[in-house]
Each structure stands twice: as structure tokens, then as C-alpha cells.
């Protein structure tokens, strides 16, 4: 306590007084890649991309979709779904407690947000993983929301976009989580049969069961720069092959080189790029729909 505070009568002394001298939490942040000190509101306007070095930082699921979709009303898909602890799973913590902690920290019920909205006036469904929620792991709710979004696309004739960011399947849900790989892939196979496009945007990091299902099944696979994308995590591989992994291994640029993805896209250009791609993929379908519409008009 400073001499000045000591002088003050106790009734006007407040506990928070010492805190107020600090800069409000999180107003400034440091870029992990180039160490630049960044003003947070400005960083957020820049979609969490470092204005100095273009390093793409994490975005929450909802912020991601809000930035991606046009402003206006969005319909949330599967909002009513909440996770349950069927296996009564307990490691060093109970699964139930982990869920509550993640739900509190993120304000989300689970790790995937799915919305129907518009992208530059084009109607579509978009979903995004929230890596803060148990590492974006895929359990039953994530699988169901994704499948519902795909199903909804089939019913309405819409394209689907997914932003992946996940460590893989959620171990605490046992085999249920593994089956979400089969479920999401099956839903995408149905979409493909209907001739509806699916674009996946792989963001940092996307590994394990998510990469080995919905992550690699895009008609077009896009990735943000320098994202870690792979089946096995680098640590597991290092332990298996017992050698140091090459620089840039499993990064977006590496995947592009190896032919696993179509393009690397800067986050700030994603809206335009995805819209352009979808417009081309959807054009024949839309013009056919228009022709059929005209025929109906003539009939009536």
C-alpha cells in the first residue's frame, strides 16, 4: 500500500484501486511470430492477422463465421444440441467438468458452430470449429451439427463451407467420437451425389480424425498460410521414425507442394475467393434451376 493510500480514510479506500493503474487486460497483444506489439482492436479489425508479418492467429468459431458471412440474420443449425457424458469418462478430470469449463470459457455448448447465412448475397451453410473448446475435438455434437448442416444443404440445394481447426476425435467419448468420422464423411458423400459443392478451409491446426474425414473431403481443399495439417501429430511421427522432421513439414505450403490442397488463401481474401469458387461450381445448377423456373412460368 502506498503512503497516499495509507493517508486515505478507510471508507474511501477500495480494493480495486491498485488494479486500476494497470492497462486494461488484453488491450495490447504480441504477435507470436514477429514479436510486434499490436493494438488489439486493430488486430481484430484485421481478422486476427498480424498487420506486420501476416501471421494468422486463432479465431474463435463464431467470430470466424461472423467475419466470413454477410452481416444480417443467421440461422443457427443444431444450437439445441448439447454434449453428454455417456461413458462417465474420467481421467485426471471428469469429462463432465472439462465440458463445463470449456462451455464457460467459450460461451459455446460444443466445439462446432453451424450457421445458415449469406456470403456476398449467396445463400449457404457454413460451420467452424472452435479450437478453444477441448482442442476443437470432434464428439457426437460436432458430428451431428456437421451432418445436420450438410443435410440442410441437400434439402435446400445449398453449398457447404467448413473451417476446420481440431486436434481430432474427442477421446472422452470413446468409439462414439470415432464414428463421427464415418458420419460426417457419409453426409458429405450424399452431398456429392446431389452435386452440391463442399469447400473446406483448413486452419491451424487440423489433425487426426478431423483431417482424416471432413478435413480432406472438400471438392476444393483450401488452407490458411502456415497451418499445421496432418493425420498424425509431429510429435507422434518423431517418436515413430526417431529423426528430426524437416522444416515446414505438415504445413500448408508443404501440403500444396504434395498435392493435398488446392490453394493457400489469406484470411482477408477468403470471402471473395470462396464466393468466386462457389459461383463457378454452382452456376450450371443455378442456370438449370432458372430454366426450369421459366418453364413453370410458361406453363402457368
Amino acid at each position: 500500500m502506498s503512503w497516499f493510500q495509507k493517508l486515505m480514510p478507510s471508507r474511501i479506500r477500495t480494493e480495486g484501486a491498485s488494479k486500476s493503474r494497470k492497462v486494461p487486460d488484453g488491450l495490447w497483444t504480441k504477435c507470436k511470430s514477429c514479436d510486434a506489439v499490436l493494438y488489439r482492436p486493430e488486430l481484430e479489425r484485421n481478422l486476427n492477422v498480424c498487420p506486420k508479418c501476416d501471421h494468422h492467429m486463432t479465431l474463435t468459431g463464431r467470430a470466424r463465421l461472423e467475419a466470413f458471412l454477410d452481416e444480417g440474420d443467421h440461422v443457427e443449425i443444431g444450437a439445441e444440441l448439447a454434449p453428454v457424458d455417456v461413458l462417465k469418462f474420467k481421467d485426471t478430470k471428469k469429462y463432465r467438468d472439462r465440458l463445463v469449463a470449456s462451455q464457460k470459457a467459450t460461451g459455446e455448448k460444443d466445439a462446432l458452430v453451424a450457421l445458415r447465412g449469406k456470403l456476398l448475397e449467396m445463400e449457404l451453410n457454413a460451420c467452424a470449429f472452435d479450437f478453444r473448446f477441448m482442442g476443437g475435438s470432434m464428439g457426437s455434437v460436432v458430428g451431428e451439427r456437421f451432418a445436420l448442416a450438410a443435410q440442410d444443404c441437400i434439402e435446400r440445394g445449398l453449398p457447404l463451407v467448413c473451417f476446420a481447426a481440431s486436434g481430432g476425435a474427442r477421446m472422452q467419448e470413446g468409439l462414439f467420437s470415432l464414428m463421427q468420422m464415418a458420419k460426417t464423411s457419409a453426409a458429405l458423400a450424399r452431398m456429392a451425389e446431389e452435386g452440391l459443392p463442399y469447400i473446406v478451409v483448413l486452419t491451424h491446426p487440423t489433425t487426426g480424425g478431423v483431417s482424416a474425414s471432413l478435413g480432406m473431403l472438400g471438392d476444393i481443399n483450401l488452407a490458411e498460410p502456415n497451418a499445421l495439417i496432418g493425420f498424425a501429430g509431429p510429435r507422434v511421427i518423431e517418436q515413430t521414425v526417431r529423426e528430426k522432421l524437416p522444416e515446414g513439414f505438415q504445413r500448408s505450403e508443404f501440403l500444396l507442394e504434395k498435392g493435398a490442397i488446392d490453394q493457400i488463401v489469406d484470411r482477408r481474401e477468403l470471402r471473395q475467393r470462396v464466393h468466386g469458387l462457389l459461383t463457378m461450381l454452382m452456376a450450371p445448377r443455378r442456370s438449370q434451376e432458372a430454366r426450369e423456373g421459366e418453364l413453370v412460368d410458361e406453363d402457368s
Binding site: L175, M181, A189, I237
Partner: protein, 319 residues
């Protein structure tokens, strides 16, 4: 310690060794040891049944990877009347951790695809410990699409620790190879029936495990990650694998209760390796019965029921 027996099987190993010893002595001497041998054999049977009636999930996990457990190619001649192995993914290589080809039983031709582990060190390396690389999954996909062209039902035998985590596997798109199989299998216009005969390790297992029916042998396991892997991530110590095995619900009986699989095939006391023929007969009967039903369905029904089955996987609350 006999390396062909697991820790908890050692009492059985000792009794069996004693019986063998007596037999050897008995053949040389005129003394009649038959009574003693019979007594010991009875004791051995009882002991086996006691031990196997109260196995922990961790012990079952060990049995699923028992060094003597029958692998895909051990069952093939017992289950099928004929099998022709086909090789290669037509893009890169032939993966020895997955075998496949047309097979026949009871005049019915099917496409068989299975993981393959090796028995001795040399074969283990040759089979890459049953851990497929992308070319293995792509070979499987090629064979499955061929089966669809010739309207052959597909039978898969699952027995892998998981897909291989290596540099080359990543370079050649391990994720894509697995994902593609999941999507393709969901829509194959022929019956697809899957058997977990040993270890059902994660995505590497599921990549040949999407279909109309899943059957597990009693002492096989099926899980999202190995007990050791789960323990080292969540408990920060691989020594906690027995606890992790318990927590994950990875045994056939537990998964049946959770409705994640359709059928459990009983194994003899002591495990499938004690009497592979007995197990093979049950596998064969199951194949015939399941295909008999599934093949009688119109393709649209088959596909929509498979789709419903996949969509039904999941446990959640609806507010």
C-alpha cells in the same frame, strides 16, 4: 515366463507345461500316469475358465494383440473355400499391411479386405506391424470399387494398431486416403460387412470399417485411440493404459451394449488362438447369414439403411 502367454495366463502355461512333461515321462516308462494327466487337464480347464470369466478390459486389450492370435490370412483358408490375393493401389505401391482379393464361400463370391500383421520379426517388419500407409487404403478402395462393379458383397477383417504415422505416409496423404474410404464405403451399392478380429485401432481401422454390419470377436477391441495413447495424453503416462482401457469402453460386450456394433462372436476360453477353427466356423456362419439378408434388399433400401445407421451414431442432449 513363456513369451507365448500373457502375464495373467502364466498359471495356465505352468499347468500345460506340467502336463507335457508328464506325457513325455509317461511314454518312456511303463508307469500309468494317465490319471494324473487327466486330473491336471481338468484343473487346467477350470483354471482357464476362471481366469477368462473375469478378465479386465486391459487384459482383453492384451488378448486382442496376443502374439498367437489368428490374423486375417490365418482365417482365410478356414472361412473361405477359395481366395485370390490381388496387389497394389495402381498409383504408388503394394501395402503389405492390407491384403485383399476375391474369395468364395458356399458358392457365394465376395471381396475380402483385411489388415494383416506379421508373426515373426521379419514378417512383422514386412507387414509394417499391421499399420497401413495411404497406398494400403487406396488398394482397399480399388478393390471395393471393383466389388461394386461386379456386385460382390464386401467382407472386411479389421486388425490394426492404427494407420502408420510416418513421414512418407503424411506426404502421400494419409488423411485423404482414410477420409476417401469413409466416404466411398458409405455409398457402395453392395453389402459391406465388417469384422473386428483383433485390434480395431482408430481411423486406421475405421478406414475399412464403414458398412452395414459390424461384428466383433469377443476378445477384440475397437477404440478411438490405443489405451497407451489415451493414457499418455490424458494421464501423461503410458503406464496408466489399464485405467484408460477401462474408461474408454473398448471391449466387444461394452460396445454392443452401447449399440455401436451389431454382434459379438463368442471365443473359446483362452481366446481365439486356442481353437481358431471354432471361431472361423462362427465367422463363416455370420458372413452367410448377414449377406443372405442384406443381398435380398433392393440397393436403395440397403443404402438408405446404411445411411440411417451411420447418422444414428452419437449421444447428445436436445434442449
Amino acid at each position: 515366463m513363456n513369451p507365448n502367454y500373457l502375464d495373467f495366463e502364466q498359471p495356465i502355461a505352468e499347468l500345460e507345461a506340467k502336463i507335457r512333461e508328464l506325457r513325455n515321462v509317461g511314454s518312456g516308462v511303463s508307469m500309468n500316469l494317465e490319471e494324473e494327466i487327466q486330473r491336471l487337464e481338468q484343473k487346467c480347464r477350470e483354471r482357464t475358465e476362471t481366469i477368462f470369466s473375469e478378465l479386465s478390459d486391459w487384459q482383453i486389450s492384451q488378448l486382442a494383440r496376443h502374439p498367437q492370435r489368428p490374423y486375417t490370412l490365418d482365417y482365410v483358408p478356414m472361412v473361405f473355400d477359395r481366395f485370390e490375393e490381388l496387389h497394389g493401389d495402381r498409383h504408388f505401391a503394394d501395402d503389405h499391411a492390407i491384403v485383399g482379393g476375391p474369395a468364395m464361400l458356399d458358392g457365394l463370391s465376395v471381396m475380402l479386405i483385411g489388415h494383416q500383421k506379421g508373426r515373426d520379426t521379419r514378417e512383422k517388419v514386412y507387414r509394417n506391424f499391421g499399420m497401413p500407409r495411404p497406398e494400403g487404403y487406396r488398394k482397399a478402395q480399388r478393390l471395393m470399387e471393383m466389388a461394386a462393379r461386379f456386385r460382390m458383397p464386401i467382407v472386411t477383417f479389421i486388425d490394426t494398431p492404427g494407420a502408420y504415422p510416418g513421414v512418407g505416409a503424411e506426404e502421400r496423404g494419409q488423411s485423404e486416403a482414410i477420409a476417401r474410404n469413409l466416404a466411398v464405403m458409405a455409398r457402395l451399392p453392395v453389402p459391406v460387412i465388417c469384422f473386428v478380429i483383433g485390434e480395431g485401432g482408430s481411423g486406421g481401422a475405421l478406414a475399412i470399417g464403414v458398412g452395414d454390419r459390424t461384428t466383433m470377436l469377443q476378445y477384440s477391441i475397437y477404440s478411438v485411440i490405443s489405451p497407451e495413447g489415451c493414457a499418455s495424453i490424458l494421464w501423461k503416462s503410458a503406464d496408466k493404459a489399464p485405467v484408460a482401457a477401462e474408461a474408454m469402453s473398448l471391449t466387444a460386450n461394452k460396445l454392443k451394449k452401447l449399440k455401436l456394433i451389431d454382434k459379438v462372436i463368442k471365443e473359446p476360453a483362452g481366446g481365439a488362438h486356442r481353437s481358431p477353427h471354432e471361431v472361423a466356423v462362427r465367422i463363416r456362419e455370420t458372413i452367410v447369414a448377414q449377406i443372405d439378408y442384406l443381398a435380398s434388399q433392393p440397393v436403395e433400401t440397403l443404402l438408405s439403411e446404411r445411411y440411417q445407421r451411420l447418422m444414428a451414431h452419437g449421444a447428445f442432449e436436445q434442449a
